[in-house]
Symmetry: C2
Subunit: 161 residues, 2 copies
DNA sequence: CAACAGTCGTTTCACGTTCAATCATTCCCG
DNA sequence: CGGGAATGATTGAACGTGAAACGACTGTTG
């Protein structure tokens, strides 16, 4: 499909900027988190999701979905977090295939510390250089894009035709 | 440093949206490129940089810098592209430590095909849901953020104090 | 010109991620 | 109820990436 899908100058700039900003941002924040707390960004995100959940516990699948991680990847990630004592697994009574990841006391404390580093990083590197108007537009625009993508079905449907 | 670096609701939304949009976008575009042409997104980007360069050739280091890739990673990437016949290496006469990556005829053709897929994907998934005003703000705002980050020095200076 | 620090690119190795296969369990339908 | 498809989660191997060490060469300094 779509033969000559040329992008004009602004479109090109927007796309490249998105790619570069997110790449650099993630790289820096990840490095910082790793250096200061021994946590990767995706490990951190899993902890955040757990902390926000009722009883600090969530099913593995849900967690994978919200964290934008593969099931397999989440399994490995939770393995690491469990070894570090930040999370523990619990069996699910109502569906014996499933299991919960639960934030431990240590995990909670770690998250409290790590989030200071992380949020300061987000503010300093992402929010700081922008004015409130830009931030609001980013939130809306990128929110739309993300929502659209989350809706897209998995199998080779859609634009591929 | 920075103790209570809380983010307000819009700031939080902007940050999460950036992360999710870029993650999903890259994942989809990468998969599409891979399925249709056997190229990863970073391989594609290397080809684009080469195509834009005078004589379709660039020094490995420059290439790594512009593609936001580690030197090591670029070496591996160019290895793969070379095996696929899309790029070849040439020695640098004036500095015998260095080498060039050069786009081959096949690489050029592959890029022509792949870019149709890729640009259609960028348009359909990123640009389409946005209006021109939003695109312009994204280009500026994320451009600022990226520029800021590119300036940041490498060793553990900055906010770490 | 000798010595030494710095740069270019590669290599090696450890680690995180992906993919496909697997196991256990639940759901659906006749 | 029984059988097969679907789902939740894990496993293991293959692969890509990052960090550190390395060899080769250059540039500088005395």
């Amino acid at each position: 499909m779509a033969a000559g899908a040329r992008l004009d100058e602004t479109e090109m700039r927007a796309w490249r900027a998105l790619l570069q900003a997110s790449t650099l941002l993630v790289e820096r924040l990840d490095r910082e988190l790793q250096a200061d707390h021994g946590l990767s960004l995706s490990e951190y995100e899993v902890l955040v999701l757990l902390q926000q959940a009722p009883r600090h516990r969530r099913r593995m699948s849900e967690l994978a979905g919200d964290a934008l991680l593969t099931r397999s990847r989440l399994t490995h990630t939770v393995d690491r977090l469990e070894r570090a004592g930040l999370v523990r697994r619990e069996a699910c009574e109502t569906d014996r295939r499933g299991s919960f990841a639960v934030l431990t006391r240590d995990g909670y404390r770690m998250l409290a510390r790590a989030s200071r580093t992380h949020l300061a990083g987000v503010r300093g590197r992402f929010l700081e250089p922008l004015d409130p108007g830009q931030v609001a537009v980013l939130a809306d625009a990128l929110g739309q894009v993300a929502a659209e993508l989350r809706t897209e079905v998995s199998p080779g449907s859609a634009t591929t035709s």
